[in-house]
Subunit: 459 residues, 2 copies
């Protein structure tokens, strides 16, 4: 229903454009949500895009511009005059300007910066220098700052006057003359306070902050923990330099979850949406891990090769290899993926390792017994009774089920330890997921299999 | 640094409690962030928890209460008087009250509802009835609603007066006398408007809404798309019944990502954090899929069993089975996980299937050629030249590498199709991930292997 209405809206605008009623189209787009307007602009050819962009009021045009794809932004920038660039850049929020510049070719970046005011250029350059994935790289510069000595009425007046400029006006920060952060006050607290109270009396001194150089995930976890709409960002001296807002944090959350999922599936993460990637780019993101894992399967091959003559005599054993390897891989992945996710949402730390080990050991024991018993029954009922496979004896069933049980226990322990060790050593725990664990557990399960077969069957 | 300061804070409070300076502790907790205060309360025994809970001002006590674990909430509810329960329930936001009631035992729920005012009870009961994962189940009832005919000054006055009661005052909704939604206006727009303008002139008529019965993920995607702080929730008749705020949406995002990851790893999702689950609960979440996948590995076993005599003659072939199965599984998982994630963040729909298939086919071809060639070289260099394995001939190498190439192509196609088909059929695409794909691809790769071996080696 909702999506239908949105589609209708776009249809209406298309018709206005078709009949060349630009006046009505301008009015409609000015009133519309900028995300929808950008969706509409995305469909148009260059000439019409620039025409509409020029027709819209400045603030609306810049809001729509922010929501366009980088390629579209580039075509617009290349088609407008220097003067129009100046107006656009001054109108954009610093974080949006920086996001745009990071996607543009160098020559266009130079032209944009040349046309920005010197103040804007300085801030943009500073922001462009924050490392990827740092809090600095996702913050914006526009903050509503108040002084302790203001009255509530003065503070509200300042918020009203700054309202257009500041990305988040709902949380205000109180700074001293050196921009050191002294307090925080929400607009709601200001509004329910009495007009003649001082900001100092109403504000909270307990300000929870983020640092420019911190990992962006830290800011995400902090904003989620406290249910804030924004976090103030300070430099190492404690001076207020920007703000991270909840909408940026949500984008980071989605990206980080996607990255974790990709790493767990042995894919090198990229920022691009799937449908925008070329087959060659997808291949580049996927082939390194496939290659590495394929080569490391040489070990499992060697283990099997060294027991080739035994397998030739006990042919029934070969048939159970895929089941043992898959079950080992699956149990190990369950443990590793659970631990990786718990680490990444801040539920687990390295110091929890003993608790995790003890918990996984008990889970592993329960799984080992259940799977071992069920598999023993399955072999008796299906392989021996139903299919009448004479190569499968009760001794073979015992070897298979004991191997299964030991493999499950090893797999769970390997699966929970490796991500935590990776975290401790400063690697990304997410790469210790299914494919990696599977490769290790495969080798383990074969070694266990042939050891037990050797003892029980004398292969 | 940040976390250190937070730890210091808790340490200070512990000292105040140790020296029984309750006055200072009360003052400190009242001023503190409620999340930190709740973290502190969580450590205390029952008697002290209730003592502090009673000592704090009502609004602070209820904010802290909201942030406590369900078990702690239950012990407090069980220790306070009916009158105190009434005060607490009226003070809580409806969504927090509902979250609490969903975790409490039935007898305690009855006692809480008995002590709520009849209006609150009615709303709570209505909210408790919304299905799990629906927008209704995450919304809250407290909305700031305005009328078209108000002036901006009157509207601001109403926001200031309602400020304490409403969970989100930063977005106001304009309704008519039948509570039909007519417009939306942000507090920022109100504040930058002139006092004597009418709400009708300043508000936007283009309201983007969510429906009580919609899936919560729809609301998440909509709030992210438009960078809103909240979405109004309407019933089927279009009447405003509540609001979904960005903090609730972030919790949903995190939960949904965790659920997707768990399903991809063949784990039945649960709400509980890992460290809070008993080994038995973890076992229950993990064993069904392990069992199912183990039993379905019977097929791979049967395929191998039917070629047992051939394998006994061509012993070298067995050694490559793990590598072929793992590589097939890994390539298939890459495709399925990429597609599952793209579906769940709204980047892909079923209608994109032809584009996805064409893209994956090209990626598969690139991967197949690379892996096939590298593996052929690896066998020549390592297995034949370095290890001198006389069982491995160039013909065997050709069989292995051709199988590898065909398996990779099949795996990629299966991996991208199954999640999209699952989505189309109304199943959860996430269960079509690694373990499931691996089981299918295992069987496929063996069939391909023996077919090719049959043609080239005449097994």
């Amino acid at each position: 229903m909702e999506n239908m209405e949105r589609a209708d809206l776009l249809e209406q605008w298309r018709e206005l454009l078709a009949v060349k009623d630009l006046r009505a189209l301008k009015a409609a787009l000015t009133e519309a949500n900028e995300v929808d307007a950008a969706e509409f602009m995305a469909e148009l050819d260059l000439e019409r895009t620039v025409l509409l962009f020029r027709m819209l009021p400045k603030e609306v045009a810049s809001d729509v511009f922010t929501n366009l794809e980088p390629e579209k932004q580039e075509t617009i920038i290349s088609s407008i005059t220097d003067r129009e660039i100046t107006e656009l850049v001054e109108e954009l929020y610093v974080d949006d300007a920086v996001d745009m510049l990071e996607e543009l070719p160098a020559s266009v970046v130079t032209r944009v910066l040349k046309n920005a005011s010197s103040g804007t250029r300085k801030v943009i350059n500073q922001f462009l220098n924050y490392p990827d994935n740092s809090v600095g790289s996702i913050m914006t510069a526009e903050v509503t700052d108040l002084k302790k000595s203001m009255t509530v009425a003065q503070a509200i007046a300042r918020v009203r006057e700054r309202g257009e400029d500041s990305e988040s006006i709902y949380i205000c920060y109180v700074t001293d003359n050196r921009r050191m952060l002294e307090g925080v006050i929400t607009l709601r607290e200001l509004l329910v306070a009495k007009d003649d109270q001082l900001v100092e009396e109403v504000m909270s001194n307990d300000v929870i902050v983020a640092y420019t150089t911190e990992d962006q995930e830290e800011a995400v976890q902090r904003i989620m923990k406290y249910d804030f709409l924004a976090l103030p960002v300070v430099d190492q001296e404690g001076r207020l330099v920007g703000i991270v807002t909840v909408d940026d944090v949500m984008d980071v959350m989605e990206e980080e979850a996607t990255e974790d999922i990709e790493k767990m599936a042995a894919i090198t993460p990229t920022d691009k949406p799937y449908l925008k990637m070329t087959p060659f780019e997808i291949w580049k993101a996927r082939i390194p891990w496939l290659m590495l894992l394929m080569i490391s399967a040489t070990f499992t091959g060697l283990i099997i090769a060294s027991f080739e003559s035994a397998l030739a005599r006990w042919v029934a054993l070969t048939a159970f290899i895929p089941m043992l390897m898959d079950t080992g891989g699956n149990t190990g992945s369950q443990a590793s993926v659970t631990v990786i996710r718990a680490i990444s949402i801040g539920d687990l730390e390295f110091s929890d390792l003993p608790r995790v080990l003890w918990k996984e050991l008990r889970v592993a024991f329960l799984c080992a017994v259940t799977l071992g018993v069920v598999n023993f029954l399955k072999i008796q009922l299906i392989d021996i009774a139903l299919l009448g496979n004479t190569n499968v004896t009760t001794a073979v069933a015992a070897v298979v089920c004991l191997t299964l049980a030991f493999t499950v226990i090893c797999a769970k322990l390997v699966g929970c330890c490796l991500p935590m060790l990776a975290k401790k050593l400063g690697f990304d725990p997410a790469v210790m997921a299914s494919p990696f664990i599977t490769t290790i557990v495969d080798a383990l399960s074969l070694v266990i299999y042939f050891q037990i077969a050797n003892h029980l069957l004398g292969i």
